[in-house]
């Protein structure tokens, strides 16, 4: 089903063709307005042997932008491959649309996290919605059925008026798009910090499932094969989004135009998903690529470059929403819900029939050739003729200057361990309540209630459990566990350690759920790469993550970099978000986080040191960020993970909850409130930092477990065997009994629950003022 439109408003005299470009080498071109440097422009001329046409200039400007070319990050990201631990589970890795991990002989999963930060500040609902749409299509392009989403979010200060605008819009957008696609939301985070006030971080993760033999790839192989565009009509969405491309032409006014906001249509995406899956099942496509940032230009060049082939594209065949679009606009459009298919000619009819069945537009727009050249014509006139690899693979690569921030030694010297701290039981009690009610630690139900967690019927665990758990096979009950984590305060203090701590936390969350961690994805959110301090943070974080993954033996399978995140002139805290995927042989054996049986013995496993720098306590109580983050010990994390699994296999565990922000105090609060059972615990006499230190330290490598009464000795024996320190704390109390820290304080669960669950509704539950 294709739509032929009369070209309107195109003046043939002014169409900038390849022929004209060859004839007018000295025509001035607005490459700077499009974000290209002079040396980059000269390189383009060198590659082409002439000046670029208007269309080609647009294509290079967007493909060579930071977002598409990764020009500032490539030299550092290579560490992920250089240091990659070997894995026989990896069916597709870095460079593909998403990493693919084998789970059984028949089944594989694919997962990835991506960012959609800047659009979410401009238009929170649509920015977040299209962010979900984009990552879902990446997963779909691997041949997988998308089956779950997660969303790590960062927004400004909780009490700042603009934060409500951003957060309510983002949450509604994620729910609006994800729920309508039928994707359960199984986890994520929300962090409030002033550094994100002018630049929220909306990272979206998607998990997909596929039979091992249905894995798709993006290579446009087979000269003679057809290039088919399937999905929504193409309009002016996002023009200007990825580079600075203006839609009205390259004049003064255009430079001030804002990019058209991309608007998502989850209904079209749902149809697209079903149509694509049907095509994959029937083996009707040779290659597939989703259209994301840089739209058609990116899809055409990446697929051709991947195969080393060329293409002949008749651009007027692209179905348009707005008939007056010029060739360079069609090439740059970021209209949503579109996929590119490579189809053998004998299969075209069948492909179009499937598209029609689902009501999805689909049009053959060109053919694969053996010329190695991407040639785009507009009603017969060549408007682009270039080597696709020059767009997709051979973009600029920068080794940006790197310099450790001058303030870092001072910052690190300003340790939180010396800050005034609570000493009496009453003060400790007040601190526990205050932290539990603080925006970063309080109950997230107000947010998570806006997401469907049940659709597709395979969600075994979702928020607030440590990891989202999805069952992949109803018969065998094999499944996966996923967690995404990050702590930008730790990373600000020490990017290398901070990145490793993010990895450790996600690893730990997966491990305490009872799963075996096997793969990693990441979204690296940083400030401007033109700032040497930011580049230093980036280089250190990547190094930390790459070395950490090597040590843990789990490879990075793919991820995303987002630069230029800043509030005014101030870069955000460096925010590497790490997602870890684990395998559960039997999802019925996953370990829940909450106390559930009075009388169970409560034990803290792992070592506690007095580590308060970068902690939630220091931030909430003193507005303080300084010192060094908690030490990271990946070998200890591995021992903890092995211990948990062994204890679970021996039936020694009723629950396990990892410790992170807020330390032991917060873990106790969450474990009690989960099912409404109190606890009576006593802190060790020799606790590092005394009772306060023991409760609020954020030492890594720890978990809070509950063990059925009578089995604690066997559990202790396991701790010895796996060389994990353990500290018995007390017992789970009855339903609605208080949380008691012997000799210090007692908190009624009702009071605790009120403090913990009132914060977000109080801040954000005004009836939204914008009609749907």
């Amino acid at each position: 089903m294709s739509v032929e439109l009369e070209p309107q408003g195109i003046e043939w005299d002014h169409l900038d063709t390849v022929a004209r470009a060859a004839e007018t080498p000295h025509q001035q071109q607005p490459y700077e307005e499009l974000g290209l440097r002079e040396d980059e422009y000269e390189r383009i001329r060198e590659v082409l042997g002439r000046r670029p046409t208007e269309s080609e200039l647009a294509m290079y400007s967007i493909m060579w932008s930071e977002h598409c070319s990764y020009k500032s990050s490539k030299v550092h990201l290579s560490k992920f491959q250089d240091l990659a631990p070997s894995s026989d589970r990896l069916l597709a890795g870095i460079g593909e649309n998403a990493g693919v991990v084998k789970i059984t002989d028949e089944l594989a999963v694919t997962f990835k996290v991506e960012s959609h930060n800047h659009p979410s500040f401009i238009e929170p609902y649509q920015g977040a919605a299209t962010g979900v749409g984009g990552i879902v299509r990446d997963i779909l392009a691997m041949g997988a059925r998308p089956v779950a989403v997660m969303d790590p979010l960062r927004v400004g200060a909780a009490d700042h008026p603009d934060t409500a605008r951003v957060l309510t819009g983002v949450v509604a957008g994620i729910g609006g798009y994800g729920n309508a696609l039928g994707l359960p939301n199984i986890g994520g985070e929300v962090v409030f910090d002033p550094c994100y006030q002018g630049n929220p971080l909306v990272n979206a993760l998607c998990l997909g499932v596929l039979p091992v033999d249905r894995l798709q790839n993006k290579a446009a192989t087979g000269p003679g094969n057809l290039v088919v565009l399937m999905g929504a009509l193409t309009g002016r969405d996002g023009i200007g989004g990825v580079s600075v491309l203006a839609s009205a032409g390259f004049d003064q006014e255009a430079a001030t135009q804002r990019p058209s906001v991309q608007v998502g249509d989850p209904f079209m995406e749902k149809l697209l998903i079903e149509a694509c899956l049907e095509l994959y099942e029937a083996g009707l496509v040779v290659g597939v690529q989703d259209l994301g940032g840089a739209g058609l230009t990116c899809a055409l060049s990446e697929t051709a470059a991947a195969a080393g082939t060329g293409m002949e594209i008749a651009l007027e065949r692209v179905p348009l929403r707005e008939p007056s679009m010029a060739p360079h606009e069609i090439l740059a459009s970021e209209s949503q819900e579109r996929m590119l298919l490579i189809v053998a000619p004998e299969h075209l009819e069948a492909v179009l029939a499937v598209a029609e069945k689902w009501g999805v537009p689909a049009t053959a727009i060109g053919t694969v050739t053996d010329t190695g050249i991407l040639r785009v014509t507009w009603h017969g006139h060549a408007v682009a003729e270039l080597p696709p690899s020059s767009l997709a693979d051979d973009g600029p690569v920068y080794a940006r200057p790197i310099r450790e921030p001058a303030d870092l030694p001072l910052l690190q010297a300003d340790r939180a361990e010396t800050l005034p701290r609570p000493t009496t039981g009453e003060q400790l009690r007040e601190t526990v309540l205050r932290l539990a009610a603080s925006p970063n630690l309080c109950d997230r139900t107000w947010i998570t209630e806006q997401f469907d967690r049940y659709v597709r019927g395979n969600t075994v665990a979702a928020m607030p459990e440590n990891a989202g758990v999805i069952r992949l096979d109803e018969r065998t009950r094999v499944g996966v566990a996923l967690s995404v984590d990050g702590n930008s305060r730790y990373t600000r203090l020490d990017p290398y350690t901070g990145a490793q701590l993010a990895l450790a936390e996600a690893y730990r969350n997966v491990a305490v759920s009872g799963a075996v961690p096997v793969a990693v994805t990441n979204c690296l959110n940083f400030g401007s790469p033109e700032d040497p301090h930011v580049m230093w943070q980036f280089a250190e974080a990547v190094r930390g993550l790459a070395e950490g993954c090597a040590q843990l033996g789990i490879p990075v399978t793919g991820g995303n970099v987002s630069f230029y995140n800043a509030t005014g002139p101030v870069a955000i805290n460096p925010t590497p978000i790490v997602g870890v995927l684990g395998v559960l042989e039997d999802v019925a054996t996953r370990i829940p986080m909450g106390f559930s049986h009075p009388g169970d013995v409560i034990i803290l496993v792992g070592e506690t040191r007095e580590e308060l720098s970068g902690s939630e306590w220091a931030w909430v109580t003193h507005g303080h960020l300084g010192g060094s983050p908690p030490a990271v010990d990946l070998a200890a994390e591995q021992r903890l993970a092995t211990l948990i699994r062994a204890a679970r296999d021996l039936d020694l565990l009723r629950s396990a909850h990892d410790l992170s922000e807020g330390g032991l105090a917060q873990a106790l609060v969450e474990a009690c409130l989960r099912h409404g059972y109190g606890a009576t615990v006593a802190l060790p006499e020799d606790a590092p930092g005394g009772p306060f230190g023991f409760l609020f330290s954020e030492s890594a490598g720890r978990a809070l477990v509950s063990v059925p009464l009578g089995r604690e000795k066997a559990f202790a024996a396991q701790c010895e065997e796996h060389q994990v320190p353990w500290t018995p704390l007390g017992v789970v109390a009855g339903a609605d009994a208080p949380l008691t820290v012997t000799g210090q304080f007692e908190i009624d669960l009702a009071e605790l629950r009120t403090a913990w669950s009132s914060t977000l509704p109080k801040l954000f539950d005004q009836l939204t003022a914008r009609p749907e």
Binding site: Q766, L767, T768, A769, P771, E772
Partner: protein, 87 residues
């Protein structure tokens, strides 16, 4: 070409929480003296030939509006008049 505009509003007795939310927001923008806000839907149809009024009425009744909870009005707009200026 003939344009038909169907305006759909919730029946007066139906609670309109969206309208209420907008009403609540007005004072924040310095606007007082608004006693009620109700939000509806405007549907514009372009016919190649002017349609029978009864056809449009039935279309409105069966699809464009839900008569259980909504009222509607139909306007026939001539070619020359724009049906509404873009903001």
């Amino acid at each position: 070409m003939a344009r038909v505009v169907v305006d759909v509003m919730l029946k007066p007795e139906i609670l309109d929480p969206q309208g209420q939310a907008v009403a609540n927001a007005l004072p924040r923008l310095g606007v007082t003296g608004v006693t009620s806000v109700r939000i509806g839907r405007r549907i514009e149809l372009e016919f190649t030939e002017p349609p029978e009024p009864e056809t449009v009425r039935q279309l409105a009744d069966r699809l464009l509006a839900n008569p259980v909870i909504e009222d509607y009005t139909v306007s026939f707009v001539s070619d020359e008049e724009p049906a509404g200026e873009p903001a």
